[in-house]
Symmetry: C2
Subunit: 341 residues, 2 copies
DNA sequence: TTGAAAGCGTTACCAT
DNA sequence: ATGGTAACGCTTTCAA
């Protein structure tokens, strides 16, 4: 009576042990994948457990094991369908590994530090960062807690125990340049956000390099943001101020993410330009909306599922072997030629 | 030496207590919001804690308190921008409350049961379900664990301790009917998924009722799925098989979610119909893509942030007072009249 | 293979 | 207001 007042009605391994006539240790072993326990006893325990409605308290297990089987995912801008697809794939992958995803959505340039603290306090088994700019501090904190860190689409630093997964932006940028060159474009206008992500700049740099080989002129214009509206406004404005009109089909725009490319497309059409006759356009990511018949945007596909799969392979490996060498995986990308190039 | 082999390098409240010359209890109180502790001692402890890099182990705290400050969010189809916006708003709200979001993305008709088990094993402080069909079993399991359950866009059952938040679908459906009537439409075609969600059927039913008052004829056609492609195919097919051509402007389509409405819009345009001159169209949700200039879809806005805010108010209240009466909140919706109605 | 007992790091109760 | 101590529910040595 005196003790146990604050406890809720909850079935514990102790209850199972008593009901099954075994020790708590055996109950634990019955639920452990590799427990040293006879098949006979295990099935008995499992049966009893099911009968009385027991399941392992993961918090207690986590305290004991000093890790929680939770995985932190840090992302931003889920309004970009490429991101939300990535997050969906990642969460499903995490669950498939027997882990649980803790999702944090951050603002455009919110520091990752604060969030990381929250995650570490939960003894996470790993952290996946798809957005934000992880600096060395973060890496060190993860390392101090022995928490694996997987970076998606981040600059490929050579930090210990940190793995990277990214689409092959260099190949992607080259593919765009080639596709445009084959269509006879002699002038490419890169429309990119003022504050560019690493992945985008890889794409752009590769395109610029390739264009150099092709003797294609490249010009860059900057937009404030990386969403639909930013591109719509930027390109609209550019079309009105541009001294040299460009409706002869010699020019094409490259916008290094689809959500912005679709804004650019609308800006071109509103101005009365025919795409691809008067001017060409290519995006990057291959979000669902790019394939919509109203857009039919030519782009480069980075498959979120493939990326997620590699992230989880790496994570599983590093949970197993925390001290393995840092690995970087570049996922192949594919050209999706539709109507706008 | 013998003991402590498996412990990681981690600073505990014990370390802080020793360094600050106080008891572990005082350290705990220093970190508790309402701890009975003198301001002086608290600031001292906090200072020492910061110096040696201590933060509360949430797993240990969770074990003791019998709840983890984790909140489960169950969602599906993040490829629908309305959903991803909802999830983003929800996760941010959860964090703002000092809780942490555990996100599970489920497949179209995956049972929620399995996932719920995972959540309950983590002693979550609450569960938010925005997808899937929670049956009585789920409610009972949450109740048994004293875990608050908030349902978004679900049928308003009268289960104890379960709260509901939903957009005002009845008002929304009526608004659509009125807007269409004012444009002189005399025939409305409802394009809806074969397996309709509760929220959608509320919208449709309300529209049908209102159309009855207006003497507007309503016809329903069924699509296989509730995404862009489903609507594109369904409407395209309907346009070719329809015996009575409908290009006189008397007809309008109502598609009860925007992502499908945009598919319907493309189907109409591909067929050469001018929208809204030849035929009208309205959607529902007001996703970002509806406002894109290429679409300019007339729709009804349900604000995901408002919905999330109400969900969190309810959750906080129920964590505080588990036995309060079940509450249902209907969020007001607003008409977004653009170019297609 | 099984059981007993010692933690895992925290908070809450009970004294002082 | 503060300190000692007993849980919280589990896993994991260590013995048998």
């Amino acid at each position: 009576m005196s003790a146990g007042d604050r406890r809720k009605q909850a079935v514990t391994s102790h209850d199972v042990a008593r009901a099954a006539g075994v020790s708590r240790a055996s109950v634990s072993r019955a639920f452990a994948a590799d427990g040293n326990i006879s098949p006979k006893l295990r099935s008995h325990v499992l049966q009893v457990a099911q009968d009385i409605g027991y399941s392992v308290n993961q918090i207690a297990r986590g305290l004991n094991r000093q890790r929680s089987d939770l995985v932190g995912i840090i992302a931003s801008r889920l309004d970009n369908p490429h991101r939300s697809a990535q997050v969906e794939a990642l969460t499903k992958g995490v669950v498939a590994q027997g882990l649980r995803p803790l999702l944090f959505c951050i603002e455009r340039n919110e520091p990752v530090d604060r969030i990381l603290g929250l995650l570490l306090d939960y003894q996470v088994s790993g952290v996946i960062i798809t957005s934000g700019s992880p600096d060395e501090t973060i890496v060190e904190r993860c390392a101090a807690h022995e928490v694996p860190l997987i970076l998606v689409d981040r600059p490929n630093t050579d930090w210990e125990r940190v793995d990277h997964v990214t689409g092959d932006n260099v190949a992607g940028g080259r593919m765009v340049a080639q596709a445009l060159q084959e269509k006879g474009r002699s002038h490419i206008v890169v429309v990119r956000p003022r504050r560019i992500t690493h992945a985008m700049s890889e794409r752009v740099d590769s395109l610029v390099t390739t264009c150099g080989e092709f003797d294609i002129a490249v010009e860059t214009i900057l937009m404030d943001g990386s969403d639909y509206d930013a591109a719509l406004q930027c390109v609209s404005h550019w079309l009105t101020t541009q001294n040299a009109p460009v409706r002869d089909g010699s020019t094409a725009l490259f916008v290094p993410n689809d959500i912005s490319a679709l804004g650019a497309l609308d800006a071109l059409r509103v101005t009365g330009l025919a795409v691809p006759q008067d001017i060409g356009l290519m995006g990057y990511d291959d979000i669902a909306q790019a394939a919509w018949v109203g857009a039919s945007l030519s782009t480069v596909r980075q498959d979120p599922e493939t990326i997620a799969a590699e992230v989880l392979t790496l994570l599983a490996r590093r949970i197993e072997t925390p001290d393995g060498p840092p690995t970087t995986i570049r996922i192949p990308v594919t050209l999706k030629l539709r109507s706008t190039h």
